[in-house]
Point group: C2
Chain length 189, copies 2
DNA sequence: GCTAACTGCAACAGTGGTGTCGCAGATGTT
DNA sequence: AACATCTGCGACACCACTGTTGCAGTTAGC
């Protein structure tokens, strides 16, 4: 019934964590899954889910907000405004891939179009474009490149890379993503 | 109640078409929309929808099958096995984009993972890889390129290009997709 | 150890979508 | 013109999910 009140007792905190992790797993497999399935996966009664989260929406919001906070932190950690562009790009990519592998549902939801997150989405996209612009100044991206398009392509490549089941190493995946982003599939000169 | 029986009367045929087109529109905007919303958009009573399509699934199946047939036809028309690879690739891309702009829901559904269409999906992916392999022999794609990955990237680029609202010309979009696929965002040598 | 908080369980009401039916009237086919 | 088909409408049963409540029993914190 309540999403956030005063500090929770230890067992309630444990329930919240279990529910969030179960929700991530269950909703990743089936975004339309019922809260009962989430409760079952969390090893918790359905009523407990409703006690901790007023709505399905409140649950998803928490999931998304959590992962978006992590995303911000992870981007900050790569120093996208000061580090060499390609280094920052690689680090961001690897970190984001790690995040996406661990929180596929929340990450997908975070980037869903027409959602309640458009402001933060836009903010993140702006940071992405800024980083790409820096890579442009160093000559790694063509001066006439359409950075909005490049950013979308970048997102899409990350999404595809995260689906890759054969190669689970985020660093290698990041290399593949960036190589593809910069040079495509054509022969390198 | 019945999906396909004997030949339909002219007005029934009209209803079927109206329902399919309305379903495409409504479900593109909201994949979880109710059949009532579809009926309303089609200018038809809800019961009529159920008379023409036993299930929601039957309705979606028809939509997907129709668009997949068109997809096959459109690929055939580009002569992917005989035409110069890049020409075929461009033509396929433009045609697929046209299809995706007109049937966004059905196309998205057609390529959804873990769906009932995996065989046809796989067949299409195989044709895609075959075409890419031909582009490899002509030197447009690197000899050591991962064609499965390239195919996925190609799909993703088409998906992103179809979201592009500023440039509605499929031919220009196709050029952008292929340029990006082959050369990425980096400076061309 | 006392108290407040938390949990599972069972029960309940409410909601929205689905699928079916019959009927009266309209529409097409011949 | 006659007939079969199709339609809208209203009604119905059904189902799954949601959200709430009360209660008895457990657990955490002071």
């Amino acid at each position: 019934m309540v999403t956030q009140g005063r500090p929770l007792r230890a067992d309630a905190e444990r329930s919240v964590r279990a529910i969030l992790e179960a929700a991530e797993k269950v909703l990743a497999a089936n975004p339309a899954a019922s809260l009962e399935q989430v409760a079952e996966a969390a090893g918790v009664a359905r009523t407990t889910v409703h006690r901790r989260f007023a709505n399905r929406q409140a649950l998803v919001d928490t999931l998304v907000t959590t992962v978006m906070d992590q995303l911000d932190a992870v981007i900050d950690a790569a120093n996208p405004d000061t580090a060499p562009p390609l280094v920052a790009l690689h680090q961001v990519t690897a970190s984001v891939l790690r995040l996406k592998l661990g929180w596929p549902f929340a990450m997908t939801e975070s980037f869903a179009p027409d959602s309640r997150w458009s402001e933060r989405q836009h903010h993140t996209a702006t940071r992405c474009v800024t980083l790409l612009a820096r890579a442009q100044t160093t000559g790694h991206i063509a001066p006439d490149a359409d950075l909005d398009w490049t950013c979308k392509v970048y997102y899409a490549l990350i999404g595809e890379a995260a689906h890759n089941t054969t190669e689970p190493d985020p660093d290698l995946l990041a290399t593949k993503v960036i190589t593809t982003l910069l040079h495509g599939a054509g022969p390198r000169s």
